[in-house]
Amino acid sequence: MNFDDTPQEAEFRATARAWIGANAPKQYEDELRKSSLGRTVLRNADILDVAKAWQKKKADAGWACLHWPKEYGGRGSSPIERVIWSQEEGPFGQLSRMFIIGHGMCGPTMMAFAREEHKRTYLPPLASGEKVWCQLFSEPAGGSDVAGLRTRAEKDGDDWVINGQKIWTSGAHYSDYGILLTRTDPTVPKHKGLTMFFLDMKSPGVEVRPIKQASGASDFNEVYFTNVRIPDHQRLGEVGDGWNVSLTTLMNERSAIGAAVSTGFPELFEYCSGLMLDDGPAIEDRAVRSKLANWAVKASGLKYTSMRAISALSKGERPGPENSIGKLVAGSMIQDVATYALDLQGASGVVSGEDSELAGRFQAMLLRAPGTRVEGGTDEIMRNIIAERVLGLPGDIRVDKDVPFNKIPTKGRS
């Protein structure tokens, strides 16, 4: 048992470290390091511009999308090299956030299902960050129940005509392309009537409206489709096989091993270490210490769970299912941590924004936190996944499984 690199890994790490040291946008390092959930990170630059520039620089030197094949703009690296890169990239990895969906989900789906000429056309600019992609799955009628989506695609000559609405689309407002899951046959059970496409987000009839979140910020959008035409050659997979295609996409979403999940603990520990309460330093207070200790072991538990998965990758094995706990644990933890940090501030905790304690760091965290327990699979869906796929418990009884989609009730009560 050890934490050492193999000689090959050490060599890769040294090369990556040297290149990052010479090329990363260091002027933003401090701000990126201090960023936390719910807080805008750069004061004097547009983060999208900085992110695109960094991505392009990486691509030009062969450091973009490490796990992709070279012919599509990647590096053909092993999974462990991808992990080492992200460890070395450190705070600059924050700049990759706007590309996560494109690189992690859209790209792999295109690789698996698009025509060769499309792969060669679309993937390299996606890798280099020149083009940004989004994923259009969730709908008002289908969140956790994605297969309940209603956006229609109807064949018209060599095209498909799209009408409907998507929601919770991250980055749709700055995306150039998207992958789109639609219903092509409402007369068969819900999982069987779906078909996947990719499309140009600038197509006529696509309208993007930002959602104002409970936090006040806007990271997501509604996307409306009115008679949008998509040529049939942009179909991904067979007609009616969209559910299976989407599973490829979602599997990739959940396989980001070694990606650091934000728990809020380092921020809270640092805060408590310097905080004075009415009767002495917070860190000397028995109640504070007990809270901190309980969160400390969750944070370290997640860290070493991730190390176990990385070790499996290093040996060329598939990591076990234990990594599925990360988002579930971190999501509610960061919410609790933020709540407690405000509790320690007393009545003044209510003040948020630039003039408040730590410029409102924990207030921003609190307001953004509810989203982390919903996005990418709610806590409840994550528990179902653990119960069914890890523990082998029965799936939920699905009352709509064999019912034609257009016969499924749409209202709880009338």
Binding site: S300, M307, E380
Partner: protein
Amino acid sequence: MNFDFSDDQKQLRDQARKFLAEKCSPKAVRVVLDGKAPYDKELWKGLAEMGFLGVAIPEEFGGAGAGHLELCVIAEEMGRANAPVPFSSTVYLAAEALLIAGSDAQKKKWLPAIASGEAIGTLALFEGKGNPAPKNVKLSAANGVLNGVKKPVPDAAIADFAVVAARTGSSGRDGDISLFLVDLKGAGVAVKSLTNLDPTRGQAEITFSDCKAEPLGAAGEGWSILTQILDRAAVLCAFEQVGGSDRALEMGRDYALDRIAFGRQIGSFQAVKHMLADMYVSATLARSNSYYGAWALSTNAAELPEAAAAARISATQAFQHCAKNNIQVHGGMGFTWEFDCHMYYRRANAMALGLGSLSYWEDQLIDRMRKKNAA
């Protein structure tokens, strides 16, 4: 990076699991639970024969000389089987104390006897209520004799010798405490068994009256040695707790698959599924923290104090969580003597206190994290 046990160590784990499945069935555990024997002597003998008792004891002292990672995988299996033997007191406490502080003669006398299963040892630290702290050690040592009362002392009623923490000064500092080695079969020792939460591992009170004792380690070094012993035992106990958590989770999962109510498997209800998923989360966090503890223990890393406290807290919480919810999944049957659920519930809650309670370790963890940050 290879943050995992080696293939050989995993093989040893499988071997221990197989051995314990055969020799330490719930039925065998119940013989001790029901008070028909103080511990499972046959199993103890078998563990010695398998080389498990001396796995981390160097060969020159009669052990297998394998190491602490090997001991961790065996500990996990001991916890999974809920083994009714004085393994933790003898191997994690007494043997570790000797390895850290024993003279050559002391090691030669006791370590081979531990490895062969002939000697049972324990650590006599607590004196009634309270957590590990120098001020709680009142038993006095003067002129080579001990006077005072220790309780609870794990497995004292069946132990041959004890490492005893005693007061040798009154300065109010850690240096007031020294350790002694006592032959419990000698004069001046009175042992009284105590009823306790987990009858599969005994607890007793020892009264020392002008009892002869030899020093273990240098005078005044007792507290520093004790801290090391407790840290090392915390990691090893964490593996027992991880094994117990996994077993309690499995029992709950299996019952949820077998039991039909309202016309379906109860494991198909989300209320039950999610409870089991949360148990899995706790057990996984505990396992990962314990692996880090194992790494620190086996390499004697500077991170050991922090890693041990984290493993201790995480594994204690996980075992308590899994054991109590295992009963909940079982419903009424889980609350019967006949079902095995309560054996894990008892063990989980007894283990949560044995090396000092959760609140003590929470305090330790924060102190140690601060120390690291200051360094």
